[in-house]
């Protein structure tokens, strides 16, 4: 198996003291960020990204992805001990996790959460190891029309399958695409939408927008709420860990089902949030005792955590193989790739073997080390919540500002970050989703280039998007997904009318 040889090579890249140390730092920072209120996976990665600018790409991505794993682990701690989901995808974990903590089984619940996170990630990483290279080598045959069709599919599936109001998703996406187009047009060299304002010539930086939209706005939103909290302190003993692990095989169906749901929703833009709820609900439906769910059942912790982590991890698959992120955090990592001068997409597997396999190897190692760290250090991280928010909030603000400035050494970007903070706050409160905006902003230029290159190649003929079976079916699928709500509504009304006629 070629993949295994390459993976072993990836481990060899990793096994230096410097990389391992960065991994450890990344994991600790990630758990810290995941536990803190008002910060989470995407924000943490975005704020800490500037730290990696001077590193080589492999060390940088290892540290960043470890921050991501750490944040995923950290989210479970507050959900179970304090009934405060640190992330939206941890909400389902509170259903049974917090009741368990109240019944004095906090250690069991935490062990279950961490272990199932680990299992979910592991399944997803295995999938990435064996599937990503194949998809990438298949995608090598893609020309600009195929790439544009895939981008179109990503955008359309957000509009068609998203649960938010359609017009709000469209607004968020077009705004992202428009902002991506600000500045120098890469094909003709003309300036667009700069209005003679110099700092806009470079365009709106993706990471600046993310830091503002997620970091600053999250602080504003957090302050709105009552910050008092009451929860349980817990430490995990080896005895508890072994007891929970002995029970694991009994739940293999739940674990497998949740992993599958997570992987599927992670690769398609369904996301970890949907995955965790779906994992929980299906476990409940197939259970022999559905009434015991929500009262502190360990299976109710296994199911959502496995799904959320499988989804969070497998979101990196389309990013590595096609250059299309499957989640907000994956989009930020993609932004990072571009900063380090790498071109995300199928060529990555050929031109930067060390990088790709180092990253994949770090997923295995990071999850194992992460599991050990969270199991042993829970008491320390739980007590982070004792730090008053009045001390944490300004520090997060400073980190955001440093992050925004460091990207292009521009003070203008710090002001822009502040503006995005306000926009993010208002958008979140009126229900305009931010994920489509993030995705559109990071993919905007690439999709426009793909479109225009296909047009140049085809002499301005739109029929190029149906010129062969592959590109034609992707484009058709994209348009179907876009119109799905309309089509679904039509089918339903036709069905209703038929039934009325029938009766």
């Amino acid at each position: 198996m070629e993949a295994i040889t390459l993976l072993l090579h990836g481990f060899a890249v990793l096994l230096t003291w410097k990389t391992l140390a960065l991994m450890l730092v990344g994991l600790l920072l990630g758990i810290f960020v995941g536990v803190l209120p008002g910060l989470g996976g995407p924000n943490g990665v975005a704020i800490l990204l500037p730290l990696t600018f001077t590193m080589d790409p492999t060390s940088a991505i290892v540290m960043l992805s470890c921050i991501y794993w750490g944040a995923l682990f950290g989210g479970a701690i507050t959900s179970i001990l304090f009934n405060i989901p640190g992330e939206a995808w941890s909400v389902a974990t509170t259903f049974d996790g917090y009741p368990m903590a109240q019944q004095g089984e906090a250690a069991e619940a935490l062990t279950a959460a961490f272990t199932s996170s680990f299992i979910g990630s592991l399944v997803a990483v295995l999938l990435i190891t064996f599937l990503a290279p194949r998809i990438a080598s298949f995608a090598l045959r893609f020309g600009p029309p195929e790439f544009f069709a895939v981008y179109l599919l990503t955008f359309c599936s957000f509009v068609g399958l998203g649960r938010e109001d359609k017009h709000k998703t469209i607004i968020s996406m077009t705004l992202g695409l428009l902002l991506a187009a600000v500045g120098m047009d890469t094909v003709s060299g003309r300036l667009r939408m700069t209005f003679g304002f110099d700092p806009l010539m470079r365009g709106v930086n993706f990471l600046v927008a993310v830091i503002g939209l997620f970091g600053i706005s999250e602080i504003l939103l957090t302050m709105e709420e009552r910050l008092a909290l009451r929860g349980h302190a817990a430490s995990i003993s080896l005895r508890v860990v072994l007891r929970v692990w002995r029970e694991l095989p009994r739940y293999w169906v739940t674990l497998l089902r949740s992993s599958a749901i997570g992987c599927w929703l992670g690769i398609t833009p369904g996301g970890a949030i949907a995955a965790s709820f779906m994992g929980y609900n299906l476990a409940k439906r197939f259970s022999k005792h559905p009434e015991t769910f929500g009262k502190g059942r360990i299976e109710g912790v296994f199911a959502p955590e496995t799904a959320a982590h499988a989804s969070g991890t497998s979101a990196l698959l389309p990013m590595l193989a096609l250059g299309i992120p499957g989640s907000g955090t994956a989009a930020i990592l993609l932004g990072g790739l571009m900063v380090w001068g790498l071109n995300p997409g199928p060529l990555l597997f050929i031109e930067h073997k060390d990088f790709v396999w180092g990253l994949i190897a770090s997923m295995y190692l990071g999850n194992i080390v992460g599991l050990v760290i969270v199991l042993t250090t829970v008491p320390i991280f739980a007590s982070i919540l004792r730090i008053p928010f009045a001390a944490v909030a300004p520090m997060i603000v400073v980190s955001c500002a440093i992050g925004a400035f460091a990207i292009q050494n521009a003070m203008f970007d710090v002001w822009l970050m502040l503006l995005f903070g306000v926009v993010g706050y208002v958008f979140k409160k009126i229900g305009v989703p931010l994920a489509p905006f993030t995705l559109a902003l990071v993919l905007g230029n690439r999709s426009e280039d793909a479109f225009r290159l296909s047009m140049i190649g085809a002499g301005g003929d739109m029929a190029v998007f149906w010129s062969n079976g592959l590109v034609g079916s992707i484009t058709t699928l994209a348009l179907t997904l876009l119109l799905w709500p309309v089509l679904g509504g039509l089918f339903k009304s036709v069905g209703v009318r038929r039934r009325e006629v029938g009766s």
Partner: protein, 180 residues
């Protein structure tokens, strides 16, 4: 249970009251946002139309895609505007209460001042002032704790970015005095 003595309790004495007068309704905010978006779409659309939104022989001109994006943005915003005006229940939904707005401003105003100060004093001095000031004035934490925390934080940031990772940050007269 055995957990009674190992509970973690954090109080929030300045929390916003559960019942507080509404400043504005969700409907008003939505309407304002949609109007701003339509205006933005018009402005950007005009700029793209001016730079050429047509179809040349070899495909779209540079303003083509952004121009039609503006059209979509305007259409979606107008639809949202119509819907927001028609939906009466949104008017009863509070966007933000007075107490909540006070808390949000407690973070936003210092952040704004901090960014402005960064331009004059450099980011390290500004962050020292922000952390100390915020902890003392908003968090009502003891003076010495606030000062020590902010000093340690600013130093750690300086060492991490400036020394360890070579990321250059804006600096002001005080750093210049020390010759950094």
């Amino acid at each position: 249970m055995a957990f009674a003595d190992s509970e973690i309790v954090v109080e929030d004495p300045q929390a916003p009251a559960d019942v507080s007068a509404s400043v504005t309704s969700a409907r008003t905010v939505e309407i304002v946002v949609y109007v701003v978006l339509v205006a933005l779409a018009l402005l950007l659309g005009f700029d793209n139309w001016r730079s050429g939104a047509g179809w040349a022989k070899d495909g779209p001109q540079s303003g083509y895609l952004p121009f039609y994006l503006c059209v979509i943005l305007a259409a979606a915003s107008l639809y949202g505007l119509g819907k927001a005006i028609a939906t009466r229940e949104l008017g009863a939904k509070t966007f933000v209460t007075r107490d909540q707005l006070r808390r949000v401003m407690q973070v936003f105003v210092p952040t704004f001042v901090f960014v402005a100060l960064t331009q004059w004093l450099g980011i390290y001095v500004a962050s020292l002032l922000l952390v100390a000031g915020f902890m003392r004035i908003i968090g009502r934490i003891a003076w010495w704790k606030s000062l020590v925390t902010s000093l340690v934080f600013a130093l750690v940031m300086f060492v991490t970015f400036e020394v360890a990772f070579d990321v250059i940050m804006p600096k002001g007269p005080i750093e210049a005095f020390f010759g950094v």
